[in-house]
Amino acid sequence: MNQYTFASSHRNVLLGAIGLGIVCLILTWMGDDAYHTRFWTNFLHNSVFFTMISAMALFFIAACVTAYAGWHTTFKRVWEAYSIFLIVGLVLLAIVGLGNYFHWHHLYHWADDAGVEADPILKGKSSFLNKNWYMLGTIIFVGAWAFFAHKLRSLSLEEDLVGNSSFKQHKSMRFWAAIVLPIFGFTSAAMIWQWVMSVDAHWYSTLFAWYSTASAFVSMIALTILLIIFLKNKGYFTVVNDNHIHDLGKFLFAISIFWTYLWFSQFMLIWYANIGEETIYFRERYDNYPYLFFGNLIINFLVPFFILMRNDTKRKFGSVSFVAIIVLLGHWVDYFLMIKPGALINRNHALGHGHEEHGADAAGHGAEHAVAHSSEFVAGFTMPGLLELGTFIGFLGLFLYVALTVLSKSALVPKNDPYLDESIHHHVI
């Protein structure tokens, strides 16, 4: 079976997931504060997470084509389908961008004109951290990624129909892939600064873009493994075997370690230098989010490291999909931890009971109050709650709905790809 049909039962399950997500978003909206911060952080969190997954799929296709890689050819349609989601991600993030203009939310401190005027640091950053850059960056850069994703996929589909031994389409793909890589490298960093890092607008880290991109990379590989194993269980992808899963498992293992390396590099340099405006980011998470802060390292480093270290656990579908599920959730929590603490501080500030106000209090009881406040449990911020989980399932359903719809439009295993034969006979041990 080389033609995937999107079974109506699967369609209904995914539509149900999307429905659940919408219900959760509505419930979040109703029980929210004046700025609907919990709603908007959940919306931003999941939009960024799945947009980055689909952007990493585009990046990885381009990297494989440029590196003359052949192992992935049998299942490259999965990545092509993932990368098409970028156009949906563009719409989702443009909604957040519009929210900056119309004050629908208070996610970003820099979007508050009066606050920026009174704040020399934000004023200094305002040539980049402003509403127009956010909106135009999202539309132009994500639009460019979506264009490249469409271009690479349509060349791949054209190759199915008219490809021959001149490999015209493949040569054209090499040209486009080489353009994607540098453009994506710079623009993805800029967009991550805008979408995620600027939630903590005073803080910055030069490693942040690498770190969050590695997080998205692992999630993309995990989601690829899960979808391929699902499709194999349904009788598709007969040419994709444990050798391909083994290589994907190696990527899951390797990029998990790479993520840990970047996480630690960012943490240790800031810890060692001990400069107040840098350490505040980790101080906040270490003090008020200790379970997530350390749990993040356990589920995203120790679990994949020790389980996937052996050869056979990377080849067995059970163990590799177990790790893929854990790591996918783990990196979703990682993004949660990038966004929520900063957004909570912004919200408290905007609602008028932030830490700054207590600092102005001359009496000692002000400081006491601030300490009591910072350690209190805030539903949906201190821990992902059921509504967060439901929203995640909704966005996952939307992502898979788009991906499977795209997947059903063409042959699952490409034809006429110069590397197809190599990929079918791929052997790693």
């Binding site: 630690f264 943490f267 240790m268 810890w271 060692y272 001990n274 270290m309 050869n311 052997h427």
Partner: protein
């Protein structure tokens, strides 16, 4: 592989790894006991046909690595809290994040050195060791199957080599 000395072997040389793979398969089918197979580079798919079990070298590597982790971490913990406590940059004596890079490096060092030494010892390699090569060309461009003459008689072996297209058949005591 270290084997007993003074084994009389008969061996055939092949020009191509595909010929070698076919020959090994045939030998297995005919129940000819192969003494050893020599190739200038790892031939893909040869190990499963020969029925070789997976190397346990990486398990040794894990143990060496874990030893390196413990040595570095416990060593630094002892030095910086008990033996010679110093304050660096206002940090506590027991500053775990600062230990991590060195712990990582010693893990890699122990695993790498330990595995290399283990590999050399298992294979009887080392400085000054003279190895008995069946033929120098098996380190260059020839692929070789050897039979122990006490297990497979010469006539049978020669017939096997001629049917599988060996370029050359020789005998040697190693």
């Amino acid at each position: 592989m270290s084997k007993n000395n003074h084994t009389e072997v008969i061996y055939g040389l092949y020009n191509d790894e595909e010929d070698l793979l076919r020959a090994v398969k045939l030998a297995k089918k005919d129940h000819l006991e192969i003494y050893d197979v020599y190739t200038p580079f790892p031939v893909h798919g040869l190990d499963p046909i020969l029925g070789l079990e997976e190397s346990r070298l990486h398990q040794a590597g894990f143990i060496y690595g874990a030893l390196g982790t413990l040595t570095a971490f416990l060593g630094m913990s002892w030095v910086f809290t008990k033996d010679w406590p110093n304050i660096f940059g206002g940090k506590p004596y027991w500053s775990v994040p600062a230990f991590i890079p060195i712990t990582f490096e010693l893990t890699v060092l122990f695993a790498a050195v330990g595995m290399t030494v283990t590999f050399y010892v298992i294979n009887g390699l080392g400085p000054g060791v003279v190895n008995n090569h069946l033929d120098d060309r098996i380190t260059d461009d020839k692929f070789c199957i050897a039979f122990d003459k006490s297990a497979v008689n010469s006539d049978k072996a020669e017939a096997f080599f001629s049917t599988t297209g060996a370029e050359e058949v020789n005998s040697k005591t190693i």
